[in-house]
Symmetry: C2
Subunit: 149 residues, 2 copies
């Protein structure tokens, strides 16, 4: 019995001979409709609602393929599970230590994130990441205690 039935409405080129498969499309759709930054497992759970036969390994594969193709971003906060994000515009991340969510923060116009550091002379810079840790406005307001021991 065939597992795949869905027709693709629009084909996005992933480059390198990679195909936009139904699984990759569903994973991509889930990410594009997420404002939070789900982990692979969270993506898996959301994807399962649309395609119950998909496996976690495939979700990992798809996320990796999409990230390598450059159409989604992999976001790492310390050594916690990787999170994925469909926002391709340059931005930084805020990590709330109380509710453990990750949210985007915009960069100020005209200010280079690398401007605050003395870059080693002769180095080739590929990317500069700015990550802020603390307590998000929501958690400050409700005065929650940290849920991380």
């Amino acid at each position: 019995m065939p597992v795949h039935k869905k027709k693709l409405s629009e084909k996005i080129d992933l480059g390198g001979g990679h195909r936009m498969t139904p699984q990759r499309q569903v994973v991509y759709d889930v990410l594009m409709s997420s404002r939070d930054h789900p982990t692979a497992t969270e993506v898996f759970i959301r994807v399962q609602e649309k395609m119950s036969s998909i496996s976690l390994a495939t979700v990992y594969n798809c996320l990796d393929t999409l990230a390598v193709a450059g159409i989604v971003k992999q976001v790492n906060v310390d050594r916690e599970p990787s999170r994925y994000c469909g926002n391709l515009a340059p931005h930084a991340h805020f990590h709330c230590e109380t509710c453990a969510t990750v949210m985007d923060i915009d960069l100020k116009d005209g200010v280079e994130p690398s401007g605050s550091v003395k870059l080693p002379r002769g180095a080739k810079i590929q990317k500069v990441e700015v990550a802020v840790r603390g307590q998000c406005p929501e958690c400050v307001r409700t005065n929650k205690r940290k849920n991380i021991s």
Copy 2:
């Protein structure tokens, strides 16, 4: 037979009822005499030269205790193994994707690292991390290719 013989020259208070034990002291000494950013396993190897009976689990315990006490820093680059650093002054990190080393970079005087981002209003900021990825001067000079597939 007793495992611990070394007398402590100077007792550093770790707070919270924690003791500066011979193992913790050796781990601390190794870190303070390292200019690179060794992983737990690398610290373990260096520590073994001074105290051959120590276990990897103890090195992990010591590193954690020292980090919680705030006298060393734990440095995370993406989801790679944690690295440890005795430099307590505020600074950023440069990660070379060719030789995989992590080096400190100084902050520019009078420039706040958080100055490049629009911090969420109402949030409580705990720390701002700036990480730069690229190729270090040494690797640029010798024109090495990436060693990461």
